[in-house]
Amino acid sequence: MLDLLLVTLACFSAGAVGALATAPWMNLSRLVGNAGALLGALGAFALGLAGLVGGNLQLNIPDLLPIGGVALGVDRLSAFFVVVIAAGAIPAALYALGYTREYAGKHSLARMGFAFNVFIAAMILVVLARNVLTFLFLWEAMSLASYFLVMTEHEREDTVRAGWVYFVMTHAGFAALFLGFLLLTRATGTMDFADWGAAAAKLDPTSRNLIFVLLALGFGSKAGVIPLHVWLPRAHPAAPSHVSALMSGVMIKLGVYGIARVAFDWLGAGPAWWGGAILVVGAVSAVLGVLYALVEHDLKRLLAYHSVENIGIIMLGLGGGMLFQTSHLPGLAALALVAGLYHTLNHAVFKSLLFMGAGAILHATHTRNMEEMGGLIKRMPQTAALFLVGSVAIAALPPLNGFISEWLTFQSLLLSFQISAHTVNLIFALGVAALALTSGLAAACFVKAFGITFLALPRSESAAHAREVEWTMRAAMALLALACIVLGVAPPLTLAPLEATVFDLMGGLADMRFDWNAVVAHDGFGWVAPLWIALGLVAFLVAIPLAPRLIGANNRRRYYETWGCGRALQTARFEYTATAFANPFKRVFALLYRPVKELDIEFHPESRYFVRTIAYYNEGRLIFEDALYRPLLRMIQALAREARVLQSGNVHGYLVYILVALVALLILTV
C-alpha cells in the first residue's frame, strides 16, 4: 500500500522533473511528461482499488511541514475519489500524448508537462490529506498548477481574463476554507481530521452553522455550484482540452469530496436546513446550468456549463442524503449518498470523454464555435461514434452509466415521502421536478451538441477539411466510452464498493439490493436491470432489420438530394443553426435569459425591395455574471417607490393589503 503510494508519487515527480530536464528536446519532454503522468495515474488507480477493498494506510512525516507536519491516510472515501481522479487522469495523459503535439513550438511543453504532473499528484494527495495544513497546502498547489495550465495559451487575452477570474474565485474559496478550518480547529482544539467527528458534535449550534457555511462556500466554489460557478465556464474552455477534461471531470469533484466530508464526517449530522440548502442549491445549479448550456454555441463552454448541471445533480444526492440523515433514515441517506457518489464517478467518465471529443474537434477544425461545424460524422466517424456514446451517457439515457446513477437519485428523492414533514416533502418534490426538467433539457442540449456538430453538411471550410485525429487520442476516448458502457450495464461493479464506502462514512447500509443483473431500491419500491435492457436493445436491433427481409419487403435504396421543396441548390446555409435550435428555449425561459434581439437590414441604395444583408443578433445576458447585485438595488429603489404610492385611492390596492395581511397573519399564527 505505502510502496504503491510512493511508486505513484515517484512516477509523477519523475514526469514533472523529467519534463523540465528534457525541455530543450520538445517531443522528448512531451513524451516524458505525459508518460510520467500516465504511469502515475495507473499507480493511483491501483492504490484507489487497494483502498476500496479495505487496504488501510497512515503516513505521518512530522517535520516536512510546520505545525502538525504532513499526514496522509487512505480510507474508503479517499480511495473512491482516488479512483475517480485516476479514471479521469489515465485517459487524459494518454490523450495528451497526441494532443499536446500541436503545442510544440508554440508553448513550453516542459512547463506544461511539469504543471500537469503536479496537478494530478496534488489532486490525489488532497483526498489523502489527514490534517489541516497538509490539506490546505495541497489544495493550493492543485489550484496553482491548474491555474498555470489554464494560462497555457497566455497570448490570448480572453484566456488571461479567464485565468484572472479563476485565480480570484479559487482564492476566495480558499479563504473561506481557511477560515472555516481555523474556526473548527480552534473549536475542537485539534488539527487532525480524524478527531473532528467526535469533537464537532459537542460544539454550540451557531459556530457549527458558521463553520458549515464557510466550508460549504469554500468547497462549493471549487465544485462550481451556482452562484459560485462564474469561473467555471470561463476557465475550463480556456485550458488545453486534456486539462479541461481533468478540471471538469475530476477537479470540481474535490468540492463534492469536501462537502461529503464536512456533512458526514467532520461536522456530522446537522440541522435540516443544511441538507435543504445543499439540495436547493443542487436543484438550482442543475436547472440553470443546463439552461445556460442550451444557448451556448462554444462547444467547450457548453460542456463546462454541463459540469455545473451535473454537480447540481450530485448535490441533489448529497443534500437528500443529509436531509435523510437529519430525519433519522440512515438507509435512505446511504442510498442518496451512493447515488450522488455514483454520479460523481459517471460524470468524471463521460465528461472527460466529451471534453476530449471537443478537443479532437478543435484539433481537427481549429474552432470551438458550433456554428462553423457540421458534417463531421463523415470526416471523423470514430470520434463521432465516441462522442455519441458520451452524449447518450450524459443525457442519462439507458443503458449507459448516466442513466443508472440518475435513476438511483430519482429513487432516493421519491422515497422522501417516508419523511413526515411537509416542508421537507415539498423541497424533495421540487428536487424531483428539477431533476426531471434537467434530464429532459440535457437530452435536448446534446441533441443540439451532437446534431449540429457532427450531422448534415459542414458549415465552414475548416469543418469540410477536418481529418480523423491520431490513435492515442481515439484510444483514450475509446477507453472512456468503454467505461461508460461497463459502468452502465454492470452497476454492481460500482455499487458494491460504494455501499461499503458509505457505510464506513456514516454507518448506514444503503436501502437497496443488487445482484449481477438488477438493482432494487427499498424492497421493491423501484427496480431496474440495465444489463437486460441493453441485451434487449441489442436483440431487437438485430432482429428488426431482418424482419422486412423475411416478409420480402422492397429493399431497393436510391440516394437523392435532401427534399427542399424542389429548391435547386442545397447548401449548409439551409441547415438549422445552433442558435435557431436553442431559440424555443430562449423564448420559453426568456425570464432567465433576458434575450436582447436586434435585426439590422441593409437595403440596396437603389430600392428598398432589394436587401443587401440581414444581420440578426439574439444574445442572452447572463444574470449571475453581470447583475447579481443590480436586481437587489433595483428592488430597494422599487420598495422606496412602493412605499410612496401605498396610499393610492385604488380599491384593489386596499383589497391586496387585506389579502396580504390575512395571509401573513395566518402564517404567523400557525
Binding site: 431497393r556 436510391r558 437523392y560 438530394e561 427534399w563 421543396c565 424542389g566 429548391r567 435547386a568
Partner: protein
C-alpha cells in the same frame, strides 16, 4: 364548447353514400378505385399535389376532394406533405419555366412505384396559356404522365376518375 358538441351531435354523416344499386357516378368510381387501388398499392394511395403554375382553379376542386362530401380519405387516399411519402403526383397547370426544374426534382424525390396525374386542361395542353413566354409546355413535356384529367377546372369526381385511370394503367 358545449354548443360545438351539440352541433357535432346534430350533424349527420354527409358523405355521399356507396349504396349498391344507386348508380351515382361517384359510387361507380369508388368501387373501381377500390379494386384498382387494391391491386396496385394495397388500398393505400398517398398523394402529393404540385402546382406547376396553375391559376388555382384546379386546386379548389382538388381541395374539395378533402371535404366531408367527397371524403377522399375513405378510399385510403390522402394528401401528404412530402414527396418522400407520396405514391402519386397530382400536377396542375401549365409547367412554367420556374417550376419545370422543381417539378422534375419532386418527381425524382418520390419513391417508386409512383404515378403522375395531370389535372386540368392547362396540364394537358397549356390551355389558354399555350405559347406564353413563361410556359415550358404541358406536364407530359417534363414527366411521364400516367393519366390526364380534362376540364377547366375538372370536377372532383373527374379527378377521382383520373387517379383511377392512372392506377389501372399501371395495374
Amino acid at each position: 364548447m358545449a354548443s360545438l358538441i351539440k352541433h357535432i351531435w346534430k350533424t349527420p354523416v354527409v358523405t355521399e353514400a356507396l349504396r349498391p344499386g344507386a348508380d351515382t357516378e361517384i359510387e361507380v368510381i369508388a368501387r373501381h378505385i377500390d379494386d384498382g387501388a387494391r391491386k396496385r398499392l394495397g388500398r393505400s394511395l398517398h398523394i402529393r399535389q404540385v402546382d406547376a403554375g396553375s391559376c388555382n382553379g384546379c386546386e379548389l376542386e382538388i381541395g374539395a376532394l378533402n371535404n366531408p362530401y367527397y371524403d377522399l380519405e375513405r378510399f385510403g387516399m390522402h394528401f401528404v406533405a412530402s414527396p418522400r411519402h407520396a405514391d402519386c403526383l397530382l400536377v396542375t397547370g401549365p409547367v412554367t419555366r420556374n417550376m419545370a426544374d422543381p417539378l422534375k426534382r419532386t418527381y425524382d424525390a418520390t419513391p417508386a412505384p409512383k404515378i403522375v396525374v395531370a389535372v386540368g386542361d392547362c396540364a394537358h395542353d397549356c390551355g389558354v396559356f399555350a405559347g406564353g413566354y413563361a410556359v415550358v409546355g404541358p406536364v407530359s413535356a417534363i414527366l411521364p404522365v400516367d393519366a390526364v384529367v380534362r376540364g377547366c377546372p375538372p370536377e372532383p369526381r373527374a379527378i377521382l376518375l383520373g387517379i383511377l385511370a392512372a392506377l389501372e394503367r399501371r395495374a
